[in-house]
Structures are given as structure tokens and as C-alpha cells.
């Protein structure tokens, strides 16, 4: 039951995307997401779709692996599509009793499905080609400027990487506690959702206690090894921009410009497409 939790689903590889600086990938994803929201026309989405297809090809991650990410949001996508389909006012195409489907509704639904799947695919390309550690490093360095406005960037990044390190340990521990309680007659697998949620409480209490004990030990171990915050720290694997990273920034800029141009100047009139 707990085996399914995977965070930072990294797909090992050596493609150019894997080797890019995590800061580039973070910014690229951010630009991609902003463009999707800002330039919401058919022409712009064709540009985004082509760009996405290129990235997937370059990343060398199998398509089935990437599409797996879509499965998680399938229900969300269905619900949004249905709501848009039935609840958008406008010219009706079909009307049965009080339920009506409008042209605008269809357009909206199609638009939403594409936007959501592009969002998920775009960000999963980033997480698939970046290790969790690189990601936290990238965040720490990339958001370093926020220290000036008193955001504890180093501390947040440190917490994230420690959390990532302890996920498998705590998962193991949770499984152990579950087995121990099942051995004494606890039942986690039957009954309604309320009953199952209630059954988890006796699991969570010992898990929290043990997590706090671990945290205490870890704090002691970190202190013993001279940890005193981010000041005066050096890096074993510092992030250094290479030429390919600058090239990638250029590609990202070009993409944003293309999206803008497509949105501003190309107006495709297609039936049932926004």
C-alpha cells in the first residue's frame, strides 16, 4: 500500500536534458507554465505541443514512462472537462431537458484538457531528468537572491533534501508498524473510507514519535559534524553554468517569443477548438 509512494521519479539517463543545470530546467518549466496560461490560443498550443514533443524526444525517456504521469491527473481532467462541458453558457448544440452542451463548453473542455496535460507533461519532463538532490541544489542556488528579503532559502533546501532522504526510511518504518499491528489484529484493508482512515490513527502516532526521535538524533549528528547553517559553507558539487546551459536559456527565450507571436498574430478558426 505504501510502496506506491514515489517522489522525485527520476529516470536515469545521459541525455542533454539530464546534464543541464537544474536551474535552467526549473526556469524553463516555469516559463512553459506561464506561457500556457498567458497565451491560450490554438496556434500557441500547437507551438507548445511541438516544443513538448521535441523535449520528450531529446530526453530519451520512454513515452510510456512520461504518460504515466498523466494517469494521476486523469480524474481531475475528467471532472474539469465535464464541468466545463455542461456548465458553460452559450449557444447550445445538444439539449436534453435541462442539460445542455454548448459550443463554448466544448471549446472550454478541450482547452482545459490540453492545458492540464501540457502542464503535467512539462513538469514531469523536469522531474524525470533531474535527481531530487539536483533539484534542491538548483532551488537553493536559483532562489539565493531571496535571502536578501529574509527568506531562509538554504534552510528550506536543506529541509527538502533531508525529507527526501528520510522518505524511504519512514516508509519502511510505517510498513513495520503496520505489520506489527496487523499481527495483533488491526485491520487496514477492509471497511469504508472512514473506517480505514480511523485505522490509520494508531499507525500515525508511533510513526510521529519515531520521526521526532530520528529528528533529534539527526540534529545531534549534524551538529557533531560542524553544521552551523548556510553561512561559510562550501559545496562538494557546486552548480556551474556551462555553455550548453546558456544555449538552453536562449532556447527557452525563443520558445516564449514564439508562443507570444503565435498568440498575437495567428488566428486559427477551427470548429470546436478555442
Amino acid at each position: 500500500m505504501l510502496k506506491e509512494i514515489t517522489i522525485g521519479q527520476y529516470y536515469p539517463g545521459t541525455s542533454i536534458l539530464h546534464r543541464l543545470d537544474p536551474r535552467v530546467k526549473l526556469l524553463g518549466t516555469l516559463v512553459f507554465i506561464i506561457c500556457l496560461f498567458a497565451f491560450g490560443t490554438t496556434a500557441a498550443y500547437i507551438v507548445a505541443g511541438v516544443a513538448l514533443a521535441c523535449m520528450i524526444t531529446i530526453s530519451q525517456v520512454p513515452l510510456s514512462f512520461i504518460l504515466r504521469g498523466l494517469r494521476m491527473v486523469l480524474i481531475l481532467m475528467l471532472v474539469t472537462a465535464l464541468f466545463n462541458l455542461f456548465l458553460t453558457p452559450g449557444t447550445a448544440i445538444v439539449q436534453i431537458w435541462k442539460i445542455r452542451i454548448t459550443v463554448e463548453g466544448v471549446k472550454m473542455a478541450v482547452h482545459m484538457v490540453f492545458r492540464l496535460s501540457f502542464l503535467v507533461l512539462g513538469s514531469s519532463i523536469m522531474t524525470l531528468t533531474t535527481t531530487p538532490n539536483q533539484l534542491t541544489d538548483g532551488l537553493e542556488k536559483g532562489l539565493g537572491w531571496m535571502k536578501k528579503i529574509h527568506v531562509p532559502v538554504h534552510e528550506i533546501a536543506m529541509m527538502m533534501s533531508i525529507a527526501l532522504r528520510f522518505i524511504p526510511i519512514l516508509t519502511d518504518e510505517a510498513n513495520r508498524i503496520m505489520s506489527a499491528q496487523e499481527a495483533r489484529g488491526a485491520d487496514f484493508h477492509s471497511g469504508g473510507i472512514v473506517k480505514r482512515a480511523k485505522a490509520l490513527i494508531p499507525l500515525l502516532v508511533p510513526l510521529f514519535v519515531s520521526a521526532f526521535r530520528r529528528a533529534n538524533d539527526l540534529a545531534l549528528a549534524m551538529e557533531a559534524r560542524g553544521y552551523h547553517g548556510g553561512v561559510g559553507r562550501t559545496r562538494m558539487k557546486p552548480l556551474v553554468y556551462r555553455r550548453r546551459d546558456f544555449a538552453a536559456y536562449l532556447v527557452i527565450a525563443c520558445f516564449a517569443v514564439l508562443m507570444f507571436l503565435a498568440w498575437r498574430f495567428i488566428h486559427l478558426e477551427l470548429p470546436f477548438l478555442p
Binding site: 531530487p132 538532490n133 533534501s161 533531508i162 527526501l164 532522504r165 524511504p168 526510511i169 530520528r214 538524533d217 539527526l218 545531534l220 549528528a221 549534524m222 551538529e223 557533531a224 559534524r225 560542524g226 553544521y227 552551523h228 561559510g232 559553507r233 562550501t234 559545496r235 562538494m236 558539487k237 557546486p238
Partner: protein
């Protein structure tokens, strides 16, 4: 900040420390004595084992050696630095490294090599030097081949060796192992003990081994026995383990071989000296048998 000139890595005099026990409402209750007038002197390069049952104060003492705790009374100098002076804390932590009991709770990074580099990053060592020292340290504990692994995929003994590498990468003069073998299987315990003995011999690193496995203390230059926050015995392993009855009064055992030899001796078998290891026991039995022509020579 001043450093005392000395050849003794640890010099503690009349140390005392108290814990305050809080009740369930969080009110401070009685004060429990964890250390009570402890004197400890360790020469650079020695291998010292500290024995004691649970609650004897041995872990509290260990935490003092790294300035994680500071004494309520008495003075403690580590590598010549007074632990009571808050300005010395980082120097003390560099000269004395600590390995803790639970291997999972002291590994910080998700990759072996990054964890070994963690202490060096904290010290602000330049990147190129970090890599050099991480390689040295991982080779010294025999974990260089595993440098790219996730710590979650290692055995307990391997995790503790990574933790030791993380400490020795910082080039400490002294390593304190605070029951570092308590959660390991016998194979893992041997791995860890072999590693620290090797470091002690080749690098002249002072090792302070806190344990309740008597077999591990046999290899030490000196054994210190603690009970109720006091140092109650001190000497070479042979001197300590010859006093079987006294050790039992502190709720401690002696190594199995020693105990067997002692019991045989009580039954009248002519075993002269204190036996520490299985090999010595075989030697003694063979010797005794030959001298008295009692039985056939015993073989393993």
C-alpha cells in the same frame, strides 16, 4: 580560545553533569546525576574502551567529548581546548568526531559520497579538497566502490563505515564511537571494529569506543568501566577482565572465553593468566593439558 599545550587529547577533571527530569506537565522535577566526579585522561593515539551498563553515564560522557554537552562542574580539555568556552566549539568538533548508535539517523545526504563530504562542506573546505579527502576517507574504510550508492541500499555495517568515513574525512585527532555497534549484526560489528582498529594503527587516530560488548573491549589499550556516573575501574583489558566478580557487581559480563577460563580455573584446571580471546584459551588449555598430561590436546 586559548589552547593549552598538551600531548593528551582528552583531559577531564572532576566532571559532573545533571539531567533535569520533567514530569508529564512539563514541570522540572528531580535532577538526575549522569556524571559524578569523573576523571579521564587519554593520550593521543590510544585505543580506549569505555564500558558500562545502561544508565552508567557512558553516553553522556561521550557527548561531552564533542562539546555537545558541557559539564556542570569540573573542567574538560579536548585537544587542549576548554569545552566550557563556547568559542572553541567548532575547533573541538573538528578534532573529535563522533559516530552514533543508529546508522540511519546520522546519514544526512542521499548519496554516500555526498554524506562523507557533509562535514567538509560545513567547514568551508574548497571543492577540490573536499573530493580528495572524501576519496581518501572512503578508501580508508573500504567503501570507495559504493560512493554513488544510496545509503538506504547499504547494510548496517556499511552505513556505519560511511559514518566513520564522514568523520575521518574531517581529519580528526580522535573518534568517539558512541555504541556505534549496538544496532549491528555480528558481521557488521566485526566490520566496524576492524575499520577503527586499522585507523588507530595506521593513522594514529585516538579511538574511544563506548560499548557494552565485552569482546570489542579486548582490543583496547585501556578499558574504563563506569557505573552510576562514576569511573569505577580502569586499566588494561587483562587487568580489568581478571576481576570477573567485581565486573559482575557492576552488571557487566566478561568475554566468553575469559569466563570459560575463569570457571575452569575455579574447578581446579591449571590456567595461570587471564584469557581474553578464543585463541588464548586454546593455547592455555593445550598448555595445561600437556603439562599435566590430563587429556588429548584440544583442537578447534
Amino acid at each position: 580560545m586559548a589552547r593549552k599545550k598538551t600531548d593528551r587529547i582528552i583531559e577531564g577533571h572532576d566532571l559532573s553533569f545533571h539531567y533535569t527530569v520533567y514530569d508529564s506537565e512539563g514541570n522540572p522535577g528531580e535532577r538526575r546525576t549522569a556524571l559524578d566526579g569523573v576523571d579521564i585522561d587519554v593520550q593521543q593515539g590510544q585505543f580506549v574502551a569505555i564500558l558500562g551498563h545502561n544508565g552508567s553515564g557512558k553516553s553522556t560522557l561521550a557527548r561531552h567529548l564533542n562539546a555537545l554537552l558541557v559539564p556542570d562542574g569540573g573542567t574538560l580539555y579536548v585537544d587542549g581546548y576548554d569545552t566550557l568556552d563556547a568559542g572553541n566549539v567548532w575547533k573541538i568538533r573538528q578534532s573529535t568526531g563522533m559516530v552514533f548508535q543508529n546508522p540511519d539517523n546520522q546519514i544526512i545526504a542521499s548519496v554516500v559520497e555526498e554524506d562523507v563530504g557533509f562535514g567538509l562542506e560545513n567547514q568551508g573546505v574548497p571543492t577540490a579538497d573536499i573530493w580528495k579527502r572524501v576519496e581518501e576517507a572512503l578508501r580508508a574504510v573500504g567503501m570507495w566502490k559504493m560512493r554513488g550508492r544510496s545509503p538506504n541500499r547499504l547494510s548496517g555495517g556499511q552505513k556505519q563505515r560511511v559514518a566513520i568515513a564522514g568523520v575521518i574525512a574531517m581529519h580528526p585527532k580522535c573518534i568517539v564511537l558512541d555504541e556505534a555497534t549496538a544496532m549491528l549484526d555480528p558481521g557488521g560489528r566485526k566490520e566496524v571494529i576492524r575499520t577503527v582498529r586499522e585507523l588507530n594503527r595506521t593513522e594514529n587516530v585516538t579511538v574511544i569506543l563506548i560499548t557494552h560488548y565485552m569482546e570489542e573491549a579486548v582490543f583496547a589499550d585501556r578499558v574504563i568501566v563506569m557505573d552510576h556516573g562514576k569511573v569505577v575501574m580502569g586499566g588494561t583489558p587483562r587487568e580489568i577482565f581478571s576481576q570477573v566478580e567485581k565486573l559482575k557487581s557492576f552488571r557487566l559480563d566478561v568475554p566468553q572465553a575469559t569466563l570459560l577460563a575463569w570457571k575452569l580455573k575455579q574447578r581446579g584446571l591449571p590456567i595461570k593468566d587471564t584469557v581474553l580471546t578464543i585463541d588464548e584459551l586454546i593455547e592455555a588449555l593445550n598448555h595445561g593439558a600437556a603439562e599435566n598430561d590430563l587429556t588429548q590436546p584440544v583442537s578447534r
